[in-house]
């Protein structure tokens, strides 16, 4: 691979006489001792001569009209694409949806927590007192009295729902009476 010379980039402008005077003289000095750059300059000048010999191509009006139409279509397509991208950016700002979703999630969590605090999860919890007060279901697994003169018993009522555990005392009742506590 040929190692490029640092003056190579000035050769086209040198051939066209477009370099400033100071740089132009430096390139001239360099060309006197650099065969590669001199050869490259010869190639550039040869290309220029060929191009100048042929002149500019003649383009018909139809070709120009076709070219303009194609160019307009392509530019319109580029514009449409740019506008679509801008609309998407406008509709979906970077942080807004995430923030909105976070707010919605936080609100949902607050609602669920309030529900838990109000009625309790699965109907269990200390907050249940208000609603469960009417439900007095009670199962008596065992009942006994270890003192003389007392006889324990229990009964349940459906309306109102209540279980009564009673210990009959000989002192008060004179024994068990069939009609229940306090019967006259």
């Amino acid at each position: 691979m040929r190692r490029s010379c640092r003056f190579e980039r000035y050769l086209t402008a040198f051939a066209d006489g477009e370099l400033p005077e100071k740089l132009n003289s430096k390139v001239e000095t360099h060309l006197a001792r650099c065969a590669a750059c001199a050869s490259e300059l010869d190639s550039i000048r040869a290309s220029d001569r060929i191009l100048k010999g042929h002149g500019a191509p003649v383009v018909s009006n139809d070709k120009w009209a076709q070219f303009r139409s194609d160019l307009k279509l392509k530019l319109d397509a580029v514009d449409r694409e740019s506008r679509r991208a801008a609309r998407v950016r406008e509709a979906r700002p970077v942080h807004a949806p995430v923030r909105r979703r976070a707010y919605a999630l936080a609100a949902a969590c607050v609602v669920v927590l309030l529900m838990i605090l109000t009625v309790g999860p699965l109907g269990v919890g200390p907050w249940r007192g208000g609603t469960a007060a009417a439900n007095n279901e009670c199962i008596v697994d065992s009942i006994e009295s270890l003192a003389a003169g007392y006889t324990p018993m229990f009964f349940s009522s459906q309306d109102p729902e209540m279980t009564v555990i009673w210990v009959f005392s000989e002192e008060v009742e004179g024994g068990i009476r069939g009609e229940g506590p306090g019967a006259k």
Partner: protein, 175 residues
């Protein structure tokens, strides 16, 4: 998106933690309302009429007392509240040397919402004259019962004589 997923996960875990801690409480709250029920001699004008004197403070229990018992008068004596851990016991002092001990054992066995507890009603034995002072008074067990009460529900206990009437207790447990 990742933030939302992480936030959602944290919120769900927090809710799960709250639910778990609430679903399996370590302690329950016990309310004991003491009521004196008495029967008075019926006068000629009252005979045959169901006139029941009910203390206004017994409002929440008035329907139960009227429906379940046949006493003429119900007087509110006291209301006590205590919190007790499962496996432990709490004692409420009652009139006439009576006391009630509530020992909750567990809540929600077999997935039910019932509080399992042992309730014991004691009466201090009266000491005879000249009897030496005991360091701990002897108590006789008037009633011992093991019950499963609906969480937040109330059970009525009663029967021991006090001041010419009988003692009725409304015991409410909430876990």
């Amino acid at each position: 998106m990742r933030t939302t997923v992480i936030g959602c996960s944290i919120a769900l875990l927090a809710m799960l933690a709250v639910s778990t801690s609430v679903a399996s409480p370590r302690e329950i709250q016990i309310d004991v309302t003491s009521i004196a029920a008495t029967t008075r001699p019926a006068s000629a004008s009252e005979r045959g009429k169901a006139i029941v004197e009910l203390d206004p403070q017994l409002g929440p229990f008035s329907k139960n007392l009227r429906a379940l018992f046949a006493y003429d008068s119900y007087t509110f004596l006291n209301k006590d509240r205590d919190t007790v851990e499962f496996g432990d016991a709490t004692v409420f002092n009652l009139p006439d040397h009576l006391s009630i001990e509530v020992a909750p054992e567990q809540l929600g066995r077999d997935g039910s919402d019932m509080i399992e507890m042992v309730v014991t009603l004691f009466r201090e034995e009266p000491r005879g004259k000249g009897e030496r002072r005991r360091r701990t008074p002897e108590r006789e067990v008037i009633l011992r019962t093991k019950i499963r009460l609906k969480n937040g529900g109330t059970v009525l206990l009663g029967g021991p004589p006090i001041n010419g009437g009988v003692l009725v207790l409304a015991l409410t447990a909430r876990g």
